[in-house]
């Protein structure tokens, strides 16, 4: 029997699959491979180092999502910086950062921005709002990533041979289903946009298998209750107003063309990269760490010699163990 490789691109899917124990129920020959859709995991170490360096400045309040706190950089994590006295705050919404900036006019408030199309429009909205409110002390580190350039890279990979994509529901709420057509048509890989309940994922897998056995490669939406063909044009307009696509480095995958976001000129005064000229040395993955291969789907966490021995959620070495949605954290927690 032919082996079928399905990739769940999104970290939330990885976690949902591990949590429900779905893998054990699948017929033999159907493999689920975790993709690079965990924003914490693909953020390069240089970005972390830069954030830590900025956070350690006395005039700065660093704000970020909880997941970023423990990602280790060359000189520790943001959590380490906080322990040493740096003002680092976890926010649930980027809007909270903006409020912090308004409350502390004497401080420079920096938001460490990571994430895909799901989160980046909300950050763009804060930048537009900051301009409206004439805030001069709000800055963003634009560590955002775009899904489709990475998806194409994976779809075209000879080494991986992906037979179908379980596509991320949340990103697709914003992007709509149209951009997946390129992947489905050019690389002949079927795509099913899938929700996050157990039944959603099972339906997504079954639709992919049906397409594969019929020799089709189409874009389907399983997650109809949230995703449309057109997506959310308003959110995309916000994104486009503030940012432009630019080449971007992904941890594990390297540099991918037009896969990140940079500030447009009109908004460059909010760019933390410009406001704080910090230099950080080039970084490489810690010795022995396989996160690079794991993120590309070549290997599974259990192939890594550090996994569960030196690298655990309390003492993570690679990014896939740090993030609560990382492939290594999922296998560590749920087996």
């Amino acid at each position: 029997m032919k082996k079928i490789n399905l990739m769940e691109v999104c970290g939330t899917h990885t976690m949902a699959i591990a949590r429900s124990g779905l893998k054990k129920l699948l017929p033999k020959g159907v493999e689920l491979i975790s993709g690079p859709g965990c924003p914490v995991c693909v953020t390069p170490q240089e970005d972390i180092d830069r954030a830590v360096k900025i956070a350690r400045r006395e005039d700065v309040i660093m704000t970020t999502f909880g997941d970023m706190m423990r990602v280790p950089g060359a000189s520790g994590s943001l959590e380490d910086a906080a322990r040493d006295g740096a003002d680092v705050r976890v926010v649930f919404s980027p809007m909270d950062s903006l409020e912090t900036a308004e409350k502390h006019p004497g401080k420079k408030v920096v938001f460490m921005g990571v994430g895909f199309e799901t989160t980046s429009p909300t950050v763009a909205a804060t930048v537009i709002e900051a301009r409206k409110r004439k805030l001069k002390n709000y800055f963003v580190i634009p560590g955002f990533k775009l899904l489709f350039p990475a998806l194409e890279l994976l779809a075209g990979s000879e080494k991986l041979k992906i037979d179908g994509f379980i596509c991320p529901g949340h990103v697709s709420v914003i992007t709509g289903s149209v951009p997946y057509r390129e992947v489905a048509d050019r690389y002949r890989v079927p795509c099913v946009i899938t929700g996050f309940e157990d039944a959603d994922i099972l339906k997504g897998i079954s639709r992919l298998l049906r397409q594969i056995s019929a020799g089709k490669s189409e874009v389907e939406i399983e997650y109809r209750r949230a995703v449309t063909e057109k997506g959310n044009p308003r959110a995309r307009r916000l994104l486009d107003e503030v940012f432009r696509p630019a080449d971007s480095a992904w941890r594990g995958l390297g540099n991918i063309r037009s896969s990140g976001l940079r500030f447009r000129k009109e908004y460059s005064s909010f760019d933390a990269g410009k406001a704080f000229k910090v230099k950080v040395p080039r970084a490489s993955l810690p010795k022995g760490c396989l996160c690079g291969d794991v993120l590309q789907g070549y290997r599974s966490p259990k192939d890594c010699k550090l996994f569960t021995k030196k690298c655990t959620p309390e003492n993570p070495i690679g990014p896939c163990m740090v993030s609560s949605e990382g492939a290594c954290a999922a296998v560590y927690k749920y087996g």
Binding site: A18, R19, S20, G21, L22, K23, K24, L25, G66, R70, E79, R83, V90, F92, D198, A199, L202, P313, E314, S324, K333, Y334, G335
Partner: protein, 327 residues
């Protein structure tokens, strides 16, 4: 790691390591049982004794406040030993600048909760620290209860024991988080903060075959079950679909990426009992009680969750949490 982090207080693995580090310094037969309350033999009586500090933020939350919590938390710890709680102490650490009116409200709440649980506040203490050295108010309460009859509720479950819980999990943690972080979710989620001593009393009347009772506070249900699996040297199996979680709580957890099985409770307890007595105990635990699983001899010290889709996986102890200071 050589400094205390918030993770050392979250009910997870680091906190257990810290407790273990200190326990070794004071090791004794009584302490080493590591139950919610210590069992003491004084003259001919068996006494249960427990202490707890309360640092919840904010001090007022939907369904309760730090005063009610300080009474219920300690009453419940004493009750989990199968004891009837009788007396509690009340020690307050107040931050300079706290409004007297706020203190009065909290004290009234202590009084009300104590009356409801039928315990007396019999000794107390007040300390005031300079601004910034505490966060409004911290409370410590200790409680004493008497173990009647031959009840011997400990930390060891038996193979074949059925596991029951008295109602839906994660209410307290999510209610506190929602107001603390000003998440702006308009919700009806209320803390389950309540005294459990009368429910426990009814259970003990319903069955002589209860081995363990535990209130899953910090670290949630999953962590409590892991502690019991470890101290019993047995395996535990629970069914995801049988563990009650309110819809609103489940949805808030989903939005924020929390697993309700790791979120704190303040008015829930699990009861391990011989299968034949389970229906009677279920009735005694009240209308929201559910059977959620059983104790097995397989996979020792491990908790396994049968998932809703019919697979199974490990239910690990809490490793780290984005939820500091829930109680």
């Amino acid at each position: 790691m050589d400094k205390i982090t918030l993770a050392h207080g979250n009910g997870g693995k680091l906190m257990h390591e810290l407790i273990e580090r200190l326990r070794l310094k004071f090791s004794s037969r009584i302490l080493d049982e590591m139950a919610d309350a210590a069992e003491l033999r004084v003259a001919k009586s068996r006494i249960a004794f427990s202490t707890d500090s309360y640092v919840v933020k904010p001090i007022f939350f939907p369904g309760g406040d730090i005063g009610k919590l300080a009474v219920c938390g300690t009453v419940n710890d004493v009750s989990m030993k199968g004891a009837r709680p009788l007396f509690i102490s009340l020690a307050l650490v107040l931050e300079e600048g706290l409004e007297i009116g706020v203190l009065d409200r909290i004290a009234d709440s202590v009084r009300k909760a104590a009356r409801k649980a039928k315990v007396q506040v019999v000794t107390g203490d007040i300390k005031v620290v300079e601004k910034g050295a505490a966060d409004g108010i911290f409370i410590n309460t200790s409680g004493i209860g008497v173990i009647e009859g031959r009840a011997s509720i400990g930390v060891r479950a038996r193979p074949g024991d059925v596991i029951l819980i008295n109602g839906p999990v994660a209410d307290h943690g999510m209610a506190v988080l929602n107001v603390r972080e000003n998440l702006g979710f308009r919700s009806s989620i209320k803390s389950d903060c309540d005294n459990l001593n009368f429910q426990v009393e009814r259970c003990l009347k319903a069955s002589k075959n209860i081995s363990v009772m535990r209130d899953p506070t910090r670290g949630g249900l999953a962590t409590a079950l892991n502690e019991i699996a470890a101290s019993s040297n047995l395996g535990i199996e629970v069914n995801e679909k049988d563990i009650p979680v309110r819809r609103s709580v489940k949805h808030l957890c989903d939005i924020l990426g929390f697993d309700p099985l790791y979120v704190a409770n303040e008015g829930k307890f699990v009861c391990f009992v011989k299968a034949k007595d389970a229906p009677g105990v279920k009735k005694a635990m009240g209308p929201s009680a559910r059977v959620i699983g059983e104790v097995t001899t397989g996979h020792k010290k491990e908790v396994r969750l049968r998932t809703s889709v019919g697979s199974s996986r490990i239910l690990p102890t809490l490793l780290s949490t984005p939820l500091p200071r829930i109680c």
